[in-house]
């Protein structure tokens, strides 16, 4: 893959939050692990990686075995090691938390094993089984789709991945905070997955009425997996929103990660209380934005963003405006954004009568959610979408109402972690393979 990324893009200004361990650090940390039985950390991992086992293998110097233990359960174990909210998953459940000791740094150990031993294209740690002649299509080259394609390839099937965007990797490439992963690193992991063999990625190949048609995929492939994620950023629909200085969070982060550098504004207001809003706020602080504020329509306790991320944001100088929602974007004569008029809200998040204040800012980033991609589901007969706009699947198999179509990732859950997307893709691949083996037998 030739380098499609501008070398001076804004994300390169960020430092790695948890750099790769040295061998001595990794061995010392691995040595602390108690190697619990029926370990709580494994239960807390959506992909159920055998964490004590991979850590023990680091301790013995068996790094390839360690990476294998991780990849067997999570092909994107490297990016999950970096983007997972480990504080609320594996690390949060480490028994050391109840033992007045630092929990094991599972994410950093997982990064060490996968990064040191997982990317050697000449000696992959997982080998592909003999070709089966089966061929599957995957819509979307994000974590869910790549996991599905990767596990299918390992089982001996072929996979063709259709990606609307110019680059594969989904939000790992375009949307993850750069102090967790940079775009070039995300692409390196994609390359490693493609290195398993028998996976073709077609970029710039969106599925829908204007592109590749669902009926063609259904006729050409033995099965289809939908991992399209979510659509564009949701807009507020208030006066003055259209125009310069108001941008959606996903668009803004993508430009930070992929586009040539632009001017850093002096004052930014982020709208929203989720993890994407927190990511944007922390990224702004990291870029040297002088005033970073977040406006959330309820109080702090109702925020869906992680408490540890909010605490980190506050340390970096981010101010949280609770119980406030924008009602108008105020612009000067030239149309430039000068301030946002916000209404104070009650505990239910609704504006209170006639209580307004203004917040001066140069840029507003809207992180209030992403729209759903209903039209892609409509390409496949039998695939249903629920009230929220999420594709409806069977919880165990990830099969949709169309027996040949599976789905996973943000498009079925409305927006969760990379690790959940990987679990979806993997479980669909496992179930489908088992099903075909039964049929073949």
């Amino acid at each position: 893959m030739s380098d499609p990324l501008p070398p001076d893009r804004l994300e390169t200004r960020f430092h790695d939050k948890g750099p790769l361990y040295s061998e001595a650090q990794a061995r010392a940390e691995a040595d602390r692990c108690l190697y619990c039985s029926d370990a709580p950390c494994v239960k807390a991992c959506p992909t159920e990686i055998n964490i004590p086992e991979f850590i023990r293998k680091i301790g013995s110097g068996n790094l390839r075995g360690s990476a294998r233990t991780i990849f067997e359960q999570n092909l994107l174990g490297w990016s999950c090691a970096r983007v997972c909210p480990v504080e609320v998953l594996c690390v949060g459940s480490c028994v050391y938390n109840g033992f007045d000791q630092e929990p094991i740094a599972i994410g950093r150990l997982q990064r060490y094993a996968t990064e040191r031993a997982g990317f050697d294209a000449t000696r992959p740690v997982l080998a592909r089984k003999a070709p089966t002649g089966r061929k599957v299509a995957c819509v979307g080259a994000g974590p869910a789709g790549l996991a599905f394609a990767g596990y299918m390839a390992l089982e001996g099937h072929e996979a063709v991945v259709y990606e609307r965007a110019p680059l594969p990797g989904g939000l790992n490439t375009t949307g993850v905070a750069p102090y967790k992963i940079r775009a070039d690193e995300a692409l390196r992991e994609v390359e490693a997955v493609l290195g398993l063999g028998a996976i073709e990625v077609k970029t710039g190949a969106g599925v829908g009425p204007d592109g590749v048609r669902g009926e063609d995929l259904l006729s050409q492939y033995d099965a289809v997996f939908i991992g399209v994620g979510l659509g564009p950023d949701t807009r507020l629909g208030v006066p003055g929103e259209a125009g310069p200085g108001v941008v959606g969070a996903i668009t803004w982060i993508e430009s930070l990660k992929l586009a040539p550098p632009s001017e850093v504004p002096a004052r930014v207001l982020v709208i929203g209380g989720g993890n994407t809003a927190l990511d944007v706020a922390r990224e702004c602080a990291g870029l040297g934005v002088k005033q970073v504020a977040m406006a959330y329509r309820r109080d702090e306790s109702a925020m869906s963003g992680y408490a540890h991320e909010l605490a980190g944001a506050r340390k970096e100088g981010v101010v949280l405006l609770e119980n406030a929602t924008p009602v108008e974007f105020l612009r000067d004569g030239g149309g430039g954004l000068v301030a946002v008029k916000l209404a104070r809200t009650g505990p239910d998040g609704r504006p209170l009568f006639d209580q307004y204040f203004e917040h001066a800012c140069d840029l507003v980033v809207l992180a209030i959610g992403q729209s759903k991609l209903r039209e892609i589901a409509a390409e496949f007969p039998g695939v249903e979408v629920d009230k929220r706009g999420c594709v409806v699947v069977d919880g165990e198999t990830r099969r949709t109402g169309n027996a040949k179509v599976f789905a996973g990732g943000d498009c079925i859950n409305g927006g969760k972690e990379v690790v959940n997307a990987v679990a979806d893709g993997r479980d669909a691949a496992r179930w489908l393979t088992a099903q075909w083996q039964k049929e073949g037998a």
């Binding site: 061995r27 010392a28 190697y35 039985s37 029926d38 028994v95 033992f99």
Partner: protein, 450 residues
């Protein structure tokens, strides 16, 4: 403050902590720094005719991130001219008259021994330690452990030394022998005034798997070395105790093997040692470790109301018995404290795979393994224990099946979480009692019907 001074066969030492004959006692400069740090005595690196050494010389066993659990060496005795060593000994004794300097010696003929002993004593040593223990290199030339493994030879050479010496003669024994008591008795028969043990254990410590050569590697080959360090302490403790409880051995013992702190030292003293010697821990961490050894031993003795090393010496010897003298009716049961349990469940796996399958999880009755002694299901305690930290992950003991083996407590990472509780069984007897009464036959023996 407890009195740490000792009298070892007439050798007075300010404390029981001596450096063993090894690299830390190679030169006068080192020994003087050691005395400044607080060591009470030093057994000089073994003297004899100078030798040649090889490179490399040491290799170690690590345990996880803990370095040097065991050390192996193939270095020989002093490679420096005898007169240089003796000049330095003279200087040390002049500057540190109250500290103990013992010359470790190794040579071959009777005449060699006579001259070597006389020259060392002329230099002012407080005593002599005959090295009958070194298990590498020198033993190939008929010295070191090859003497220690032959009781008659050991006794004879000892008697030569005792005949020539004016100062006390200690015999340093090799553990590479079937019966350490036989060697100890031979030393006493030869007239030894004291015994030092253990010397290193004959060993191959590891293999360089890339080169397929043992370590420490000398080019494309290696040889067996002498093993020491924390890993050998249990072997040394047993051999110390075996001599201490032997009625025929009344001479003082200098305990050696894996001693790194005051607790290790206290254990050797409690099993009958009068002094202790340290090498590996100093090679690892330096002379400075003696500060904690002195302070810790002193604090321990004060806390127990023990006023002198002589009073501490041998306090545990009486309780070291033959297996046949142990109480078969003594019974312990494991008890897990739900408050401090962290839910790691290491005890569960250890008990199921490595012990007697009597620790379970979950609040439902559990099926016992088919070989269980008790009948029926194992029943969880009621109310079911919910841990302050571990919640419903607190394991429970199937009491009728628990044999009180300690394994769960040994693997539990939380101090005090698993307690071994005494249970009165009402019957007390030893195997020896049964032997005396002719009740040694148990059902299911070799000659019982299938």
């Amino acid at each position: 403050m407890a009195d740490l001074s000792i009298d070892f066969a007439g050798i007075k030492s300010p404390n029981p902590f001596w450096l063993a004959s090894a690299p830390p006692t190679n030169t006068g400069e080192q020994v003087m720094r050691a005395f400044d740090a607080g060591w009470g005595g030093a057994v000089w690196k073994t003297l004899g005719d100078p030798i040649m050494n090889v490179t490399s010389r040491f290799a170690a066993v690590d345990l996880g991130a803990h370095k040097v659990m065991g050390l192996n060496n193939i270095e020989l005795i002093s490679d420096r001219p005898l007169e240089v060593n003796l000049r330095e000994i003279r200087e040390v004794k002049k500057r540190y008259p109250k500290h103990v300097v013992i010359a470790s010696l190794m040579t071959e003929t009777k005449e060699d021994w006579r001259v070597l002993i006389q020259r060392c004593e002329d230099a002012g040593v407080d005593g002599l330690e005959l090295n009958f223990g070194c298990p590498h290199g020198m033993c190939e030339r008929g010295m070191g452990s090859s003497v220690g493994q032959e009781p008659k030879l050991l006794a004879e050479i000892t008697s030569w030394a005792v005949q020539y010496a004016k100062t006390p003669v200690l015999i340093k024994l090799t553990p590479n022998t079937g019966d350490i008591v036989e060697a100890g008795l031979a030393a006493v028969a030869g007239g030894a005034h004291g015994i030092s043990l253990i010397n290193t254990i004959k060993s191959i410590i590891g293999i360089d798997l890339d080169r397929m050569v043992p370590v420490p590697r000398v080019g494309n080959a290696s040889t067996n070395g002498g093993y020491c360090g924390p890993a050998v302490k249990p072997i040394a403790l047993h051999m110390t105790a075996a001599l201490a409880r032997e009625p025929g051995i009344k001479v003082p013992i200098s305990g050696i093997g894996g001693i790194g702190n005051w607790k290790d030292a206290a254990e050797f003293l409690a099993l009958g040692a009068t002094s202790v010697q340290v090498c590996t821990a100093v090679m690892h961490h330096g002379y400075r470790i003696v500060e904690d050894m002195i302070e810790g031993l002193s604090e321990f003795m004060d806390s127990k109301g023990i006023t002198s090393v002589a009073e501490l010496r041998g306090q545990a010897v009486q309780s070291y018995k033959e297996w046949g003298e142990l109480d078969l009716g003594y019974k312990l049961i494991a008890r897990i404290d739900p408050k401090s349990c962290i839910g790691c469940q290491l005890c569960v796996t250890a008990c199921h795979d490595g012990a007697h399958q009597c620790i379970f999880t979950g609040d439902a009755p559990r099926e016992r393994p088919p070989h269980a002694h008790a009948h029926g299901m194992a029943v969880p305690p009621s109310p079911f224990p919910i841990g302050a930290v571990a919640g419903d992950r607190v394991p429970w003991i199937d009491v009728p099946e628990c044999v009180g083996c300690n394994l769960c407590q040994l693997v539990c990472p939380v101090p005090g979480c698993i307690e071994m509780v005494e249970v009165e069984t009402g019957r007390h007897e030893t195997w020896n009692d049964r032997v005396a009464e002719g009740r040694t036959k148990l059902p299911g023996g070799i000659h019982d019907p299938p």
